[in-house]
């Protein structure tokens, strides 16, 4: 599913003294099946944008087209939009509430009117997709499992809706290194299996470099850059000036290039770095 955002503006508390602009004239296109990373500091407008993409917030002005359908137009069914666009909030495990994991995951599709065997199959698939054994976990309380597992159950709840666009707001925030890797691997698997469009917000430039086809950089309510990760990280000075980081491997390779090593410009993955460095000494 494609997404087209045109001249999107959002003003919180418009017309009051505490009025603040959260998004200013934001336009971009995301093609079907892309893996998109969003970066930017707290307060740059990222979360406001995400909430527009599944219709939780209405734009002050501008348009959002999901597969050509204007979701901001009067009469568009929000239920249809939310079926297609699944949004995983920050710290989604705080939203777990049911007495068993299976019931919690079933909550979304059940609200869409799905029941019986079809519902059970969806729930089973979603729980297994996040790497948990259905039989082992379905009757457990979502409150007696580890933090990383809770996060996965919460993501399963969104996956059970079979969203064609999956949006995750800082999916690894607060996780330990192992849970971090598990969750990122899981998102990658979901993308590979369903070929869905995935949009994720992250402060981790290594993840952004490893996974995204396209990167959107936000600062102070504006979309500053819409490009491939290689193009973004090629603007080294610019990235640092925006108080963002470069991937570790880019830092290393740039340092080597400065010392006269003949490496490609802006290497963003370790496999390439390994190969090119080895080739020099071979």
């Amino acid at each position: 599913m494609s997404i087209e955002v045109k001249n999107l503006c959002h003003v919180y508390e418009a017309g009051t003294p505490s009025e603040s602009r959260a998004l200013e004239d934001v336009s971009f296109t995301i093609e079907n099946g892309k893996f998109v990373g969003i970066v930017g500091h707290t307060g740059s407008g990222k979360s406001t944008l995400l909430q527009h993409l599944n219709g939780l917030l209405k734009p002050t002005s501008g348009q959002i087209l999901i597969d050509g359908v204007d979701i901001t137009a009067d009469g568009t069914s929000m239920l249809d939009i939310r079926k297609k666009v699944g949004l995983v909030f920050q710290y989604p495990e705080y939203q777990l509430f049911e007495e068993t994991i299976a019931k919690d995951v079933a909550f979304g599709p059940k609200n869409l009117g799905i029941e019986g065997e079809e519902l059970e199959n969806l729930v089973r698939e979603a729980i297994e997709m996040v790497g948990l054994d259905y039989e082992d976990y379905k009757d457990k309380s979502p409150f007696e499992i580890s933090g990383g597992q809770k996060r996965r159950v919460a993501i399963a709840g969104v996956l059970a809706m079979k969203p064609e666009i999956l949006i995750l707001d800082e999916p690894t925030a607060g996780l330990d290194p192992r849970a971090h890797k598990d969750v990122m691997d899981m998102i990658k698997n979901i993308h590979e299996k369903y070929h869905n469009t995935v949009i994720f917000v992250s402060h981790n430039m290594n993840d952004i470099a490893n996974l995204s086809d396209q990167v959107l950089v936000f600062a102070k309510a504006k979309l500053l850059k819409d490009a491939s990760p290689r193009e973004v990280f090629a603007m080294k000075e610019w990235v640092l000036d925006k108080d963002l980081d470069l991937p570790d491997v880019t830092n290393l390779c740039e340092a080597l290039r400065e010392k006269g090593f003949d490496l490609s410009e802006t290497i963003i993955d370790i496999d390439q770095a390994e190969k090119e460095i080895y080739d020099i000494f071979k």
Binding site: H41, T42, G43, S146, G147, G148, A173, G174, L175, D176, P177, R178, A179, H180, K181, H203, D243, L244, D245, D248, V249, N251, L252, A255, L256, K259, F261, I270, A273, E274, I277, Y278, I280, F281
Partner: protein
Amino acid sequence: MENSIIKIENLIYEYVKQEVLDDGSTVEKVKRALNGISLDIEKGSFLAVVGQNGSGKSTLAKNINGLLLPTRGKITVKGVELADDERIWDIRQNVAMVFQNPDNQLVASIVEDDVAFGPENLGVPSEVIRQRVDDALKLVGMYEMRNKAPHLLSGGQKQRIAIAGALAMDPDIIVFDEPTAMLDPKGRKEVMAIINKLHEEGKTIILITHFMEEAVQADRVVILKKGSGILLDGSPKEVFCQSETLRDVDLTPPLAVELGDRLRARGMDIPQDITRIEELVEYLCQLK
């Protein structure tokens, strides 16, 4: 250790949970979180504690300032044993803690009131409190914000207020329990800069973290493993070059170590003890 400020001897900590069975009787479920930890922490040092969730990092921190008392073993802080009920308040004042979520640690509706909360509770004279609050806020760079409401601040700013609150207790030791986990990169850098500054000023720092790039800033790193206590203990260099051991406990070695391993596997002669990007760059330059 001659200059030790905290001495932990064979610390065992068990969480005990009462569970009610179907027939109404109760059983005690015991979970051992720390299994025989011994650690001498030098005065004025900066120690990073790393390990997966469940490895006992936070339990260790809470034992150090007496929020939890050892099931077995002994902890002494500045020569005072923590089990000593009469002295426990002195210890808590000496060992301040800063936690992960700044929102859970701020209690007042004005920044400076929040910072004053700790010393007020200790009955410190008000002119001393004024001085300490001002000093603490200046040190964390939040003095200009002293009359603001904490909930209007960014995550990084809130965490700086929480640190100022800890400083106002005038502690010798500050334990940071994943202080940057919920912050963005900018907030994370701000907080790490303050931690380094406090270390330079002579405070003893214990930093619990999941971020290797933070742990390398310490002068000593301890890696805890679930169920088996201390896995590695040494300088960041000594610890982070043990890539196999790190991977065993699902920690990702720093990039320079990872790349060094890969190049070594291809037959290149890269020393095992290279842990920082700059070192690898320098070494490759010499090799060329």
